[in-house]
């Protein structure tokens, strides 16, 4: 049964790295079944937000809370967050030479969804179907994780994991970068399949509105200098596409 709590609830989040503040009071709620987008220029704090939700050890949270289904994420190790249902599709996924994709997928599914889900004919079928949907060749399974992958292959591989892991919260950090238009369509299909009609939520982090043409967000938030300065419906993404970020920066400066 779905909880009344939002999937993700961030309150007054302040965080930084090496005593340099990056996030200056973020508030954000993503209810079950909704897809939200965070847009902003480089350096606005988008990737930092994603990393803090996932628990990257380089960042220090100085104030605020981050809750998943009402549970305190900040008290958990990254792997505990993953097992609770947080998934981050990385902007730059790490290569792990020597670790075979097939082996890695079995282990991650076993860790997050349980040993039983990661074996047997049903898992093989789910894997095969997801790979077909994402147009990923079977030979992928014998390659090493992200090693020698093209930019597009890395992003498809992240989405393959999203589809297999079925997280409560999917964070997609610049998943559209490095993808051509066909790749964006394919990946968007994967995101929609993983979130729409489920109790999960998703947070899409992006510069551009391109991916949002294929994954309709319920809400768009604009992040400037570590603060969400404006939130709106999908039309806000189109407005940003037309007008850029400058007008919002000016507004933010005037209201500061």
């Amino acid at each position: 049964m779905a909880s009344d709590k939002p999937v993700l609830e961030i309150s007054n989040l302040h965080a930084g790295i090496d005593d340099t503040p990056i996030l200056r009071g973020i508030n954000l709620e993503i209810p079950a079944g909704e897809i939200h987008a965070i847009m902003g220029r480089n350096g606005s704090g988008k990737t930092t937000t994603a990393n803090i939700i996932m628990g990257h050890p380089d960042f220090d949270v100085t104030d605020g809370t981050v809750e998943l289904d009402g549970g305190d994420l900040l008290e958990m190790e990254p792997w505990e967050r993953a097992r609770e249902g947080v998934f981050l599709s990385f902007q730059y996924p790490q290569a792990v030479p020597g670790l075979q994709v097939g082996n890695f997928l079995r282990k991650t599914v076993a860790a997050i969804r349980g040993e039983d889900v990661a074996k047997g004919a049903e898992f093989r079928k789910t894997l095969k179907d997801a790979m077909t949907e994402l147009d990923i060749d079977r030979s992928f399974l014998g390659r090493y994780v992200n090693d020698g992958f093209s930019g597009g292959e890395k992003k498809r591989f992240e989405i393959l994991q999203l589809m297999l892991l079925q997280p409560k919260l999917a964070i997609l950090d610049e998943t559209d970068s490095g993808l051509d238009i066909d790749g964006i369509r394919t990946v968007a299909k994967g995101i929609n399949a993983a979130v729409r009609g489920t109790d999960s939520g998703a947070l899409i982090i992006t510069h551009y509105s391109r991916i949002l043409e294929h994954v309709q967000p319920d809400k768009v938030h604009v992040l400037i200098k570590g603060r969400i300065v404006k939130s709106g419906g999908p039309e806000l993404a189109l407005e940003l596409e037309e007008r850029g970020y400058e007008w919002l920066e000016t507004e933010a400066e005037n209201s500061a």
Partner: protein
């Protein structure tokens, strides 16, 4: 002169030598009294086909047959010492010309529980094609293992030696010639003994020889694993690569020293060596010293390199974000690091056997 007399006539090794810099002879001698040559027992040898129990035809182990001599390029002290200790333990692995096996051949060497020595000659005929896993296991306090011999012309051999003794000292010497146009992968998987000193020398004395030397070394606790690899390019158009991965944890130490010699006249030689070390604890130590001696100008390439580092934090975070707990992520990265060389050692069947072996070793070390 017999081996014992030869050993006694030699000067004791000098620590200034490349070979003895990190592991003095005294530390890998069975008693520490360098004049003493112990009576060593003979190990139990079993030759089987890894995948089925069918009788082996064209390949056999013959007892008491003294095969090839030690190459002049090899270190006389260790080779003569093991020959003397293995006086009653001399075998030849004889492989007929054109022998082919689709599944790996397993040579089990069970050392038993007392000092043990073995001189094994590889007498591998022409145009053979097979994979050989030599596994040294047992509880001997000291094991000396000398391999001499030649890989026949045109043969394709994946030759993997696994040092898997429970504890004790393993002194291993390879002194092997690569035949004309032979293609050899010489793998070492080492994870068991308390102390290992291996001196592996390959002579590329005939045109067209192709050699890949690969190491997957896992050390933990108080282990000291020292591997010296020398490749001699004496003939034209010979190719070699050395790729050596050591993962080093606890208070352990790994040493990898390489020597690549390209003789005058070895035109078109192509040789390279790389050592990679993964440091798993603050107290672990890994030393790699690759050296080159190139006397021929007309070579395709001769290079060497070494890289040391701890477990990559970004890789750790990636795996943790996928639900691997900290220990699981670390183990997966160690296995991946060692697998990079393991996977190059041979076929899928061989690799899957080796990967399983490695996984068990990792679990043992964590227990």
């Amino acid at each position: 002169m017999d081996a014992a007399s030869l050993y006694k006539s030699l000067d004791q090794p000098d620590r200034a030598d490349h070979l003895w810099r990190y592991t003095p002879w005294k530390r890998v001698h069975p008693s520490g009294d360098l004049d003493e040559i112990p009576i060593a027992a003979s190990p139990k040898l079993t030759l089987t086909n890894l995948d089925d129990s069918s009788a082996l035809v064209g390949i056999s182990v013959e007892e008491g047959v003294v095969g090839a001599e030690v190459l002049p390029e090899s270190d006389e002290v260790t080779a003569s010492f093991i020959r003397a200790a293995a006086k009653e333990s001399v075998y030849t692995l004889r492989v007929e010309n054109n022998f082919v096996s689709n599944s790996p051949i397993m040579l089990d060497i069970d050392t038993g529980d007392s000092n043990c020595a073995l001189h094994l000659t590889l007498d591998i005929g022409r145009n053979c094609e097979f994979e050989l896993i030599t596994q040294i296991s047992g509880a001997a306090p000291w094991t000396g293992f000398l391999r001499t011999g030649r890989i026949g012309d045109g043969s394709i051999l994946n030759d993997v030696v696994i040092g898997h003794t429970d504890t004790g000292i393993l002194l291993r010497v390879d002194s092997i010639a690569i035949g004309r146009d032979a293609q050899v992968k010489a793998g070492t998987v080492s994870s068991g003994s308390e102390r290992t000193k291996a001196d592996l020398r390959y002579k590329m004395g005939e045109t067209g020889g192709h050699l890949n030397v690969l190491g997957s070394i896992l050390s933990a606790k108080e282990m000291h694993l020292d591997h010296h690899i020398e490749i001699h390019h004496d003939a034209p158009e010979t190719f070699s690569r050395l790729d050596w991965h050591s993962a080093c944890g606890g208070n352990s130490r790994t040493v990898g020293t390489g020597m690549l010699r390209v003789a005058k006249g070895a035109r078109g030689a192509d040789a390279g060596q790389l050592f990679h070390n993964l440091l798993l604890s603050d107290k672990a130590e890994a030393d790699s010293i690759p050296e080159l001696e190139v006397s021929e100008h007309d070579v395709v390439g001769c290079g060497h390199g070494t890289a040391n580092g701890p477990v990559d934090e970004d890789q750790m975070f990636y795996l943790e974000s996928r639900g691997f707990d900290t220990e699981e992520a670390k183990d997966a990265l160690i296995a991946a690091f060692l697998n990079s060389t393991l996977v190059e050692m041979g076929s899928e069947a061989l690799h899957s056997w080796l990967a399983e072996h490695l996984q068990e070793e990792l679990e043992d070390l964590n227990s």
